[in-house]
Symmetry: C2
DNA sequence: TGAACTGTACTATTTCAATTAGTACAGTTA
DNA sequence: TAACTGTACTAATTGAAATAGTACAGTTCA
């Protein structure tokens, strides 16, 4: 399970969302896996249940999980979900490219930084 | 001159900082060029002078401009400044790479996105 | 010298999003 | 029925960002 950084300035809500996205991308969580209940996770993180619930709502809106009233929340297993995450990752990365370009970074420098820093696989 | 987006959620202060960094990276502003006075820019943007002053203080702390009491604020022309901007751009881009990796983007996909989206020059 | 600029410093107030707090309702399971 | 689950809603709190106002110090130029 991921951890929260209360000093980072990043909203708790977003950190929880990103935490589950990451766990799914890494394959730690797979389709059908049940998430902790809203109340259980809130208790574990010492955070308000409403904050967790908001995170779950965002995850569901993005098709990453699905929630069933009375049963719980589960990792969705359809391709759509994985694609949605990838597409949003691409959009965010493109924004980062534009920002770096604005600051004077060349394409070659960016590519070198990727080769030096990425722990991702060569192919997907 | 750049524009502000009051709806973006990005602090005004940061937008002003990034605006000048961008103008310098693009070569629109060069070493020795004088910036608008704190009060003039605040008036132009319909923003509080304190907000602009905070931006200038950040720019000066990063070596991008220098301020002289009673005279004004100027773009610094030493190499240190350009390097400082590049270094911070690199740090931000590395953070973006790690985030994208977390979300499941492969190195090849990232490199392709750069080739498709960057308007930066091949070399620096 | 003095008026009109410039940057800088400081405190108080306002504003707004994020979070917290509390309660309530509905569906599932045993 | 009891105990769990998600969901919905309003109100209060918190903290960062921005605003407001004032004051002081250095520069420029008539």
């Amino acid at each position: 399970m991921f951890q929260l950084d209360f000093k980072s300035g990043v909203p708790i809500c977003d950190q929880i969302v990103n935490g589950f996205i990451k766990l799914k991308a890494l394959g730690v969580l797979k389709g059908g896996d049940q998430l902790p209940s809203v109340r259980a996770l809130a208790s574990k993180f010492s955070v308000n249940p409403n904050t967790v619930q908001k995170s779950y709502a965002i995850l569901e809106a993005n098709g990453i999980i699905y929630s069933v009233k009375g049963k719980g929340s589960f990792i969705s297993d359809d391709e759509t979900s994985a694609n949605a995450v990838l597409e949003s990752a691409k959009r965010e990365f493109i924004a980062a490219i534009k920002h770096a370009t604005d600051l004077g970074l060349s394409t070659n420098e960016m590519i070198n930084l990727i080769k030096q820093n990425s722990t991702a696989k060569e192919d997907t």
